[in-house]
Every structure is written in C-alpha cells, then in structure tokens.
C-alpha cells in the first residue's frame, strides 16, 4: 500500500519551501497536506520542524500525505472562545493518518450521534482564508465514504 507520495521537485515552491509551520499552511492553500521526512533517519514529522527530534539532522524532504486516517478520539465543543463560539456545537477529532502521524481538527458535516472512535476520515481543505498571521487556510475532516 502506498501510504504517501514523494514530490520530486517538479514544483518550484516545494524545493524552496523552508521546513516551517507557515509552509505547511501555504501548501494547505494549494490543497496539499504536507509532512516532512528526515533525510537521515526517515522519521516523518507533522508539524514540520527545522530539526529532527530523533537524530538532530536538519535535512528534510517534503512529503505529500494522502490525508486518510482513523479517528482515535473526539469531543463535541459546546462552549468556546469568541472566535469559535458561533460555530458551537462543533466536533473536534484527532485522526491517526495512514502515514502514522496524528492530526487534530474539526470534523464537518457529521451528526455527533454518528461518530465513533475508529471511523475512517479524510482531510479536506478550506482555502478561502488568506495566509497572513494569525490567519491560515484550514484543513478539516470529513467522512471517508470510500473507505468506510
């Protein structure tokens, strides 16, 4: 099973992109879920980091993830901060991606009663938000109807 895809420099932005959180969100704006892979010990990182916490190497490649995974925990938020209160109740999940990395985020278009730990979810993108700190494009999760 092919769990993630290497991008081979056919896109200039990739080669030039620093291994930063901002780059992660820039890629999101292009509907790409990108992690970094240590060139030395091959550990995958998400969020991307400038230094491998396993071997302290600073050489990485960007790796495009499929964005499919399994829900490992969730909650339904009924009371939130000013920024998010209008969206309540909303569902937050932590998804273990097939590549082995965890990602937290909002699960959209789902009835809280349908939800269960272990269900298959898929990353989708909301690129309507311009990238300017502290605003970033968003990813979110939705039901992976093909894998379910």
């Amino acid at each position: 099973m092919r769990r993630y895809t290497f991008l081979r420099g056919d896109n200039n932005m990739l080669e030039d992109s620093p291994f930063t959180i901002e780059s992660f969100y820039k890629f999101l704006g292009e509907r790409k879920l990108m992690a970094t892979k240590c060139c030395k010990c091959e550990t995958l990182f998400l969020p991307p980091r400038p230094m491998c916490t396993k071997c302290l190497s600073t050489n990485f490649n960007w790796v495009k993830l499929e964005g499919k995974g399994e829900l490992i925990s969730y909650t339904v938020i009924h009371f939130s901060t000013e920024q998010f209160q209008s969206k309540t109740p909303y569902i937050i999940g932590i998804v273990k991606l097939n590549a082995g990395l965890n990602l937290p985020g909002i699960i959209r278009d789902m009835n809280p009663k349908q939800i269960r730990v272990g269900m298959n979810l898929l990353v989708d993108f909301d690129t309507s938000i311009p990238l300017q700190w502290p605003q970033w494009p968003r990813y979110f999760f939705k039901l992976d109807t093909l894998s379910s």
Binding site: T75, F84, I94, N102
Partner: protein, 390 residues
Amino acid sequence: MTQKNLVSIISSGLSKFGRLEGKCSREIFVEAAKEAFEKCPNLDPVKDIEALFIGHMGESFEHQGHTGPILADWAGLLPRPAIRIESACASSGVALRMGIMAILSGMYNIVMVGGVEKMTHRTTMDVTEFLTMASDFPFEQWNGITFPGLYALMATAHMHKYGTTEEQMARVAVKNHHNGALNPKAHIQKEITLEKVMSSRVIAWPLKLYDCSLISDGASCLILTNPNIAKTFTDIPVHIIGTGQASDTIGLYERDELTTLKAGRLAGREAYKMAQVTPKDLDIIEVHDCFTIAEIIAYEDLGLCKPGKGGNLIDQNVTNLNGEIPVNTSGGLKAKGHPVGATGTAQAYEIYLQLIGQAEKRQVSGAEIGLSYNVGGSGASATVHIFKRG
C-alpha cells in the same frame, strides 16, 4: 541513595479562593503572604526572605506581566530578586521546584515561593481564550480546541480504551465537592449530587460543567528554608524529600497515548526515587483535577492503580476523605478553585496543613507523607513533590 530533606517548609499562606471582587493579583497575594508571615513570628520577612519564585500564568488577565517584582514589592520584600515562572497551570508547582533548587544551590537559606491569578473579572469566554495560550497555537488553538476540549479528548480515549464511564468522572466531582465543603477557603463550599453533575450542561462532551474546575481568584505561598535552620523558625517543619519535573509535546495530538500523561509519570518516578518512597507509603495526595478525567488519569500515572483502573478507585471510595488514600482533601481544583498560577503552591499548602495537623474538619489523622501533583496545560509540563512531617 538515602532519603534526604531537600528543604523545609516553615510557614505557608493561602488567600480565600473565589470571586474576590475589586482586588487585583498583587492585593490577593498579600492575603497569602500575610498569613505566612503571621504564622511564623520568629521570621523577620524583610530581613530573612532572600528571594521569591512566583507562578503566574497569564499576562492577559490583568494586562500585566513582570509579576515577580510586583509581588515582592507588595509583600514588602524589595529589593529581593523575584522571578515569575510560567508553566501554564503548573506555574507555581514549578516555582516551588525552583525554590528548592535555589536553596540547594547554597545561594539562599530562606526563600518564598508562591503563585497568584486573578480571573473572575473577565468573561468566561475571555478566560477560555486566555487559557488556550497554554496549548499549541498553530494546530490546537487554530482549530478551535479549548482546554475542556483537550481533556475531553483524553476522556473519550479513556472511555474507549478502558470502559471508564461518565458516572465515574462525575463521582470525582462529588468527592471533591464533599471535601471542599469542609474547607473554609474553598471557592465552593457545598456538596453536590451525582445527578447534578450528570445533568449539568455539556461544555465539551463528555465533560459537563461540573466536570470542570472553577475559574477563581486566589494566591498561595510557602516559606522554604535550608533544613538545617528550620527548627529556628518552627517546632513542626515539613520537609520536601522528593521533586520531579518533566515535559511533553505541547500538542496533545502529537503523543502516542491520549490516556496517560507521560510527563506526569516521569515526574512522579523522579520524585518517588528521590524520596525513596512508593505510592503505598503516601498518606495524602493533592492532584491536578482541572477536569474530573484528569484526577482519574492521575491515579494511574502516579501508580495508585494500574493504567485504566482509575475509575475503579473512585467507585471503591479508595480516595475519599476517609478512604485508604485520601486525594484532594482540600476540595481540589474542582471545589477549592483553580486560580491557575496559584494552584501548585496551594496544593503544597494543603499537604503542609495536613502534615502539621491543622486541616481542621478535613484532617486526615496521622498523615506523615504527602504528595502533590501539578500539571501544566494538557500535560506538556508536570511536576510532583513529596513531603514528610518533620
């Protein structure tokens, strides 16, 4: 390695916890400092106290940082060095640890450690927002995950993996409110029923309002000395015999397991080893019950029971005030209140009172060894201290 008294507590102070209207942090801290000074007449605070280590979590609450010197000033202790430490909700637990290091370093013989937070003047929405700063901005805050949300994610995982129930969590609240009702300084001094917890409104499912600790104002402090001089100041010092601290990822999601706090386990292990005690030796414990699930996980991480069995402990009343090993006799963060920066040294205050036999209606008779466990954020910081009656 033999057991060693690292430092001795010779006095302590705690403000009333709750909604302290019209008072700001520095004024609340004076309440705690005053008690500590008055309880130790042999101490000349201005002459004797050589440094302050202060836990304070949020500059946003009062638009005020640089809290160390402010509190030193208000407590009459200028020009002593005074340092603010911020490890989220573990700020003053870590300040206590810094005070221990300061004395062990030989640079000081007597220091004050403490913490303070003023929260109730802000809206609950603002408080929710300020507290999120202790979580990961780019992935947690940006996705709208609140602190109740983070602990709810732990709770869901714990329920899924171990069969822990909402009722078991609710029982933690019932127990701690029972204890809080016996603590005249607790924010809420009222018993609650299981039904009341279970039927309270959902904040972040499965956590309901009564699963959450209180938003409170409050301050706490301890006066620590080199053990060699403790008897100059008090006949009944309490010694700190173990301290531990560890860190974990800021993001909950980055961890292998959501049902345990690795930093807490490591901090506990370090403290137990240093103190040369095991969980079985403990007579009394204060744990970080910022949410009811946190107390259940704390039982497991501190080795009171096997992983996943925390719910059984509460079902069997083991941690009740009259149980085998009372936990959160003060009422905990749940009922005593959780002025975040003050919590770590407030836990130590309760252990101190219990070990010197001054915990009044909630006294655990004959308590000799106690432990406090203070957690920062969703577990990126954790610190454990072990205390022994002198």
